[in-house]
Amino acid sequence: MKSHVIVFPGSNCDRDVAVAIKNISGHQPQMVWHKESSINQSDLIVVPGGFSYGDYLRCGAMASTSPIMQDVVKKAKEGVPVLGICNGFQILIESGLLDGALMRNSSLSFICRDILIKPKNQSSVFTKKTQVAKMPIAHNEGNFFVTSEQLKKIQDNDQIAFQYCDENGNVSEHSNPNGSLENIAGILNENKNVLGMMPHPERAAELAHGCEDGKTIFESILN
């Protein structure tokens, strides 16, 4: 088991996700600096949360042009599992690995709180172990948008990974924290080896966090 965490200058969840991976799998992931140009053989590449380049211009836009992302894109196309969390999701979208765009939250303000999600796709390497799960979000731009043709495509191809929901798993406007289309909290690529999600599973990964629901995503991919 070998995993890698990409570190941009403004990443700030890189350590958190590395700790979660270490606790859950027993393996210490390797941290990869954004100026490097390639990653060794890997079983999981994580693009962590944060403000990669200050989130200036557009979240994730500048990170997506960094040298290391060229290799992440290449690895992803070869089938290596890639997980983007929060800013990582934004980066994966900007680098073209995932469809759509993440716009400003409909409330126009940063939101940090627990939400509930449930998997729509229940068979991918990331989502197969998760039921309705509680974990935090913390973002300004998590409002997922795609054109109606693209939406149809990702729906038909079972690419919706997670949707915001309530305690009973109902997906409704009421359980949508940021205005995302179809309550989408995370999506997969066509091959289902790339997942981008706004919620932070690494912040709900041990007892001290008050909730361990996030573990299932790591368990599913790491074992």
Binding site: P9, N12, D55, F110, I111, C112, P136, R203, A208
Partner: protein
């Protein structure tokens, strides 16, 4: 004074515009043996203003207790340092950014957060938590909404980006802040005890290195502005507000911490207020050496910057260091890796002077000691006004059928309602060590990789301080202490931010003196010393001073995180008990100010022996695992505290029928009290323990389904209360 007294070449108006008094200018001339040039005048003005010199407050600050078993570094460095066992220390400080935030709320608040973060990481600590203490004018004042939302998004904008969780704080609304809001930011960091960095320059010939962002014309005169009263013309002072760049600060943080792992830094000092001036003079003065700086080497963002501008610029995200010369290249590589400026701009000398060169011309030469030791210090006149008298109220004074209706009114008022709207805009969980999130008494943050944690809280009741500065000063300290105890931690030390009006007015100076006296007494009694702090004076608009506001930030240690307590009720059938004596003090309570719009009746008094005893009792019970949830009784009194516990736990309570059924009891703000939820089978043991400790301990009621019942006629659904509680601040 009239013009003909002026015997100097320097224009008198120039001196006055620099905020210097005539006798202060005379002192400069005497010290230098000549009149200063413009650059030197700027330097003196920055160093001798209230903000940097503490000239009105120094004498009194010295009276605060600052030592203790766990104090590693008290006031005088960039931040205070306390021992938290295992070779770890906590480094923390609070600072004001009041005036800039009033002029430009987003940038003012953001750069306030940036500044306090640098104070903490300059010392070698990784920042692990931010807090903020905010005061705004009346909720319906036309400026409040704009200022509140700007300040909150500025604090979030900076803290979220740099990746330090904002875990707590406080907010008040009061007309005395209509024209002068307060924005106080606190940062807590963690370091190794043997890896703390200080600012004393040393080693003649060693390079003085500038790192971080380039210097622009930002905030020139910022420090001078922060010490000047506002008037109608203050709009003109607008262009001086600085812009923060949290992304660059993140780079600076990581680069500094990376370099600090090496034995390369001899001294380091952030450039805060008065930028290069105060940082270079601070380093030279602490190290008792001189510095020679070549200003043409300073990385510049704007064109044609003068020596004066370079020395007074308050561009953000910059640091000054003295390096071991053999490590210079290694240090340069680290800053290059992080895409930051790194420039040797001078050297340490034995002249004990600050010498500034620019394009081979000497721009300034000032003996350090006249800038620092000879800085003016005033023992200003003060008058201690009689505290407002304490009023006794009778049960019959208020309609008892209204108790729950009044509870509802109070809980939706911006002073008591949930602050969720605020903290949801702050990333309070990044770093994944937040154990108790905002919304409880103290926030608790785990020391990364361990099972211990730091509890922290900021507090102050300006209304209490206004009506009795001595008791108000005590209260602010004690309230943080209680919040920390209620979370299960041992309170260790505090930082403060003394926000007051114009100290040249004897009544204001009297408030300052009395608040300090109260704080000092509380700190001494509770073994809770002051390790850092900040003073912000001249908080006035058109001659109207703010209420005295000594904001306190307390830090405590919890050795075993499994003992952490929150305020949310846990189980039906448990008992809710009150620790401490209830004396029915209603004067200046939230009940009186919110429901009756009456600000009078005196400040509740604090018996510090009682405080100490009750606090230790609660902590002992928590450590013995006898407590399910705990909460201190603060503003709003018992019923507000009960409601907060019910809302958080989504449970209710049936209050014992024999409790005095009156407003005095439910909304009285007597001090030194806590509410504890306990298991019924433990009651007898606890009662005994309380008796042997001579602590008042009484059952209040039984935890029930989500309804609060205070007798058979009066009840309210917790869901209804929650809706009202959560509507408050966001609707301003």
């Amino acid at each position: 004074m009239t013009n003909h007294n002026w015997q100097f070449q320097t224009e008198r108006s120039l001196v006055e515009n620099h905020g210097l008094k005539l006798d202060e200018f005379e002192k400069i001339v005497e010290g230098l043996g000549r009149e200063p040039n413009l650059t030197e005048l700027g330097i003196f003005s920055a160093m001798w203003n209230e903000h940097c010199s503490y000239k009105s407050s120094k004498f009194w600050l010295k009276k605060l207790p600052t030592s203790g078993d766990r104090v590693v570094q008290g006031p005088g460095e960039n931040a205070g340092v306390i021992d938290i066992d295992d070779g770890d220390v906590a480094v923390f400080k609070m600072e004001s950014h009041n005036h800039p935030s009033f002029l430009e709320p987003y940038q003012g608040a953001a750069t306030g957060v940036g500044g306090i973060l640098r104070d903490v990481f300059t010392m070698g600590a990784r920042p692990v938590a931010n807090l903020n203490a905010l005061r705004f004018g009346e909720p319906n004042h036309p400026k409040t909404k704009h200022l509140l939302s700007g300040v909150v998004s500025g604090i979030g904008g900076y803290g979220n980006c740099i990746g330090v969780p904002t875990v707590g704080g406080e907010v008040n609304f009061h007309p005395s802040y209509n024209g002068n809001i307060l924005v106080n930011a606190m940062t807590v960091g963690i370091a190794k005890k043997d890896k703390i960095f200080y600012s004393a320059a040393a080693g003649i010939g060693n390079p003085v290195v500038y790192v971080g962002s380039k210097t622009g014309r930002d905030g020139i005169h910022g420090a001078t502005m922060a010490s000047a009263e506002f008037d109608e013309d203050s709009e003109d002072k607008k262009p001086t507000v600085q812009v923060g760049d949290p992304f660059t600060e993140k780079l600076l943080l990581e680069a500094c911490l990376e370099l600090m792992k090496e034995e390369a830094i001899i001294a380091i000092q952030d450039m805060g207020a008065a930028g290069l001036t105060s940082s270079s003079i601070e380093m030279a003065s602490k190290g008792d050496v001189g510095l020679e700086i070549d200003l043409s080497k300073v990385p510049m963002r704007a064109q044609n910057m003068s020596a004066y501008e370079l020395m007074l610029s308050e561009s953000q995200e910059r640091m000054l260091m003295v390096l071991d010369p053999s490590k210079e290249e290694m240090a340069r590589d680290i800053f290059k890796k992080w895409d930051l400026e790194f420039e040797v701009i001078g050297k340490v000398t034995d002249t004990k002077r600050l010498i500034l060169m620019m394009n081979d011309k000497e721009e300034a030469s000032i003996p350090i000691n006249i800038l620092v030791e000879d800085a003016p210090e005033y023992q200003r006149d003060y008058i201690v006004e009689e505290p407002s008298p304490i009023k006794e109220y009778k049960s019959e004074d208020f309609d008892q059928n209204n108790i729950l209706k009044d509870l509802n009114t109070m809980i939706m008022h911006p002073d008591l309602s949930s602050r969720k709207w605020i903290w949801e805009q702050y990333d309070h969980m990044v770093m994944a060590d937040t154990v108790v999130r905002p919304g409880s008494d103290a926030a608790v943050v785990r020391v990364h990789g361990t099972n211990k944690g730091l509890a922290m809280s900021t507090d102050c009741s300006p209304v209490y301080c206004k009506h009795n500065p001595y008791e108000g000063g005590k209260h602010a300290v004690v309230e943080t202490w209680r919040n920390i105890i209620a979370s299960g931690a041992l309170p260790i030390a505090i930082t403060d931010c003394m926000n007051f009006g114009n100290p040249e007015k004897p009544e204001i100076m009297g408030q300052f003196v009395e608040c300090i006296r109260g704080m000092g007494d509380a700190c001494s009694k509770l073994n809770y010393p002051v390790v850092s702090g900040n003073v912000s004076l001249y908080n006035e608009t058109n001659g109207e001073g703010i209420y005295p506001t000594p904001a306190i930030g307390g830090v405590g240690l919890i050795k075993d995180l499994s003992n952490v307590k929150t305020l949310s009720l846990k189980n039906e059938g448990n008992l809710l008990c009150v620790v401490g004596k209830s004396n029915n003090h209603l004067g200046n309570s939230k009940y009186m100010t919110i429901v009756h719009n009456k600000e009078d009746g005196g400040t509740p008094e604090i018996d510090l022996d009682e405080e100490l005893k009750n606090g230790h009792f609660v902590l002992e019970l928590i450590n013995k695992q006898l407590v399910e949830s705990s909460h201190d009784v603060g503003e709003g009194g018992i019923l507000i505290a009960v409601a907060e516990m019910c809302i958080a736990g989504n449970l209710g309570i049936t209050i014992d029928e024999d409790k005095e059924f009156s407003h005095r009891f439910y909304f009285g703000e007597d001090q030194s009290r806590y509410l504890l939820e306990i298991r019924p089978e433990n009651f007898d043991q606890l009662k005994q323990l309380s008796e042997s400790n001579n602590v008042v301990f009484e059952k209040l009621g039984v935890v029930d389904q989500a309804i609060i019942k205070i007798n058979n006629l009066n009840e309210i659904k917790v869901s209804e209360l929650r809706n009202n509680f959560e509507s408050g601040v966001g609707n301003i």
